[in-house]
């Protein structure tokens, strides 16, 4: 407590300096080099970074903004890399994000409940701010045609690494489905005609009988000549209904599977990464995922 009071003095002395700077860019430069920043470092050690950030949000939101400038810059740079913004607009986009967040700092102070880390929560706000700016730009301006001659070269160089990276992403994305992860994976493999394994069946139906496991492996456990998807759903739907206690039609199962497939494609293509997966390339990714 005594330490906090001591530091409050340091905060107050810095008020005048902060008030002089209207521009946040100037503020950031001053902040970085100031004794105030050095004092904050000591406060981090004593309070912990997140608690300090929470106190800054409550008492000195401008200081928090100055501290989080790096987060804003990183996110804007990532969106520039995805060509959402042009590189030459970097400074302007950062400024616009700052202004947008400062306008709603009161709302942020009210809405933040201290459950998530403040820097993560702040990043979510920055992201939404960037999307808002982008949507406004799309409405008001024509998008400039962007140079593409470099992108092909990049793809060639990073292709192998991206596949490994995307395999990790698939694992994370499947995790979003929580208890339904087993069902998603099994149906995706069936839909893509990828041979299923015993563990895939048990992950989906933990209490599956040996008889049903044997039947499913006989039907789908090896590569086959292209089978009609209708036949696949005809076989799998009764099994799904049996172990889930439901009464879905084959069409409902097919639609559900296709919805999940499209959802996964959208997730893989999400900004800022912006891959260009489609149904066919997703199948290849799933085949690779199944083989590891």
């Amino acid at each position: 407590m005594g330490v906090s009071v001591g530091f409050a003095g340091a905060f107050n002395r810095h008020d005048d300096k902060l008030n002089e700077s209207a521009d946040l860019r100037t503020l950031t430069q001053e902040f970085a080099g100031s004794a105030f920043a050095r004092l904050l470092k000591w406060r981090v050690i004593l309070l912990g970074e997140n608690r300090l950030d929470e106190r800054l949000l409550a008492e000195r939101p401008d200081a928090l903004m100055a501290k989080y400038q790096e987060i804003i810059k990183i996110i804007v740079k990532k969106y520039i890399a995805t060509k959402m913004f042009h590189a030459s607009d970097f400074e302007d986009i950062v400024q616009m994000v700052n202004e947008d967040i400062l306008k709603k700092i009161g709302t942020i102070q009210k809405q933040y409940n201290g459950k998530a880390l403040l820097k993560t929560y702040f990043s979510a706000i920055v992201r939404n701010s960037c999307l808002k700016i982008y949507q406004k730009q799309c409405r008001e301006m024509k998008m400039l045609s962007l140079e593409e001659e470099d992108s092909t070269e990049e793809e060639t160089v990073t292709n192998h690494l991206e596949i490994e990276y995307d395999l990790k992403r698939i694992e994370r994305i499947l995790g979003y489905y929580a208890k339904k992860q087993g069902r998603v994976l099994l149906c995706a493999k069936l839909c893509f005609q990828i041979p299923i394994e015993r563990k895939d069946i048990l992950h989906c139906f933990s209490s599956c009988s040996e008889e049903d496991i044997t039947m499913l492996l006989d039907q789908f456990g090896f590569h086959q000549e292209r089978r009609l998807l209708k036949q696949v759903y005809h076989i799998i739907t009764p099994i799904l209904n049996k172990y889930e206690g439901k009464n879905n039609t084959e069409d409902a199962v097919r639609r559900w599977t296709e919805d999940r497939r499209e959802e996964i494609v959208r997730l893989l293509n999400a900004a800022p990464h912006c891959s260009t997966y489609d149904k066919e390339t997703l199948k290849i990714l799933f085949e690779m995922y199944s083989s590891i």
């Binding site: 608690r51 990183i74 809405q111 993560t120 990043s123 939404n128 959802e263 900004a271 800022p272 990464h273």
Partner: protein, 240 residues
């Protein structure tokens, strides 16, 4: 705390919390309501995935407890509370002390390391120090004890006992058969002593045979046959 907006989608803080869980490998600590919603909602999945991708290069090293997940070790698993760590160290120290006491303490001079099948204790013959200082100490186990040596040469007037075995200075093996003749019903006491005079074994019997199956260290031993009233016989054997 309500993690949902009015449109039933995750609030920004709930999305941030999910991303924290991904970064800190603490998905198991996410509230079930959030996990269930995310499993069903495309829009929230995309929000989470995009935020995660923006922060994927950021290192999340929690030096302090997470406001929702609590203490998390660097591996992402929940750390062991300090009290348990202290208890573990204390138990380890206790264990080491116990081992030290058992194996590294100096042996007692009267340490007994001969085991017999009978109830009585067995002591090391000869010099009580262990045979570890070379042949000189080992030879001590075979030196005669004058007081008992004299008794060996003594002729006993008792006519009730005649010794059959073992012979005087006989070398004995794993088991020793003591045999004598005496009047039936006559109880005798058989004693085995080390060459230092310490009783190694003692047994009362009315029989005329006793087989000793205990373990004797190499050395010279004396054995006595006594009745309640008198000493009947003193013999000498060698265990090599």
């Amino acid at each position: 705390m309500n993690f949902f907006k009015e449109d039933s989608h995750l609030s920004e803080e709930a999305v941030a919390l999910y991303v924290d869980a991904l970064k800190l490998e603490s998905l198991g600590k996410i509230p079930t309501a959030i996990r269930d919603h995310v499993s069903e909602c495309s829009m929230c999945k995309i929000e989470i995935e995009e935020l995660f991708l923006l922060l994927e290069d950021e290192k999340y090293e929690m030096e302090e407890p997470h406001p929702f997940f609590g203490t998390i070790s660097k591996s992402g698993k929940k750390g062991i509370p300090l009290i348990f760590r202290i208890a573990a160290v204390f138990l380890l120290a206790l264990g080491f002390y116990g081992v030290y006491q058992l194996y590294w303490q100096k042996p007692d001079k009267n340490a007994e390391n001969i085991v017999a099948s009978s109830v009585s204790k067995i002591t090391v013959p000869g010099d009580t120090s262990l045979v570890k200082e070379g042949e000189k100490l080992f030879a001590n186990n075979f030196t005669v004890l004058p007081s008992l040596e004299d008794l060996v040469r003594t002729e006993y007037r008792s006519s009730t006992v005649e010794i059959q075995s073992p012979a005087l200075n006989a070398e004995v093996g794993e088991s020793i058969t003591f045999q004598w003749t005496h009047a039936p019903g006559h109880q005798v006491i058989l004693k085995i002593l080390s060459n230092a005079g310490k009783e190694v074994h003692s047994v009362k019997t009315e029989r005329d045979t006793y087989i000793f199956r205990g373990i004797l260290k190499p050395g010279l031993y004396y054995w006595k046959l006594e009745s309640n009233d008198e000493l009947l016989f003193v013999g000498k054997i060698l265990k090599k």
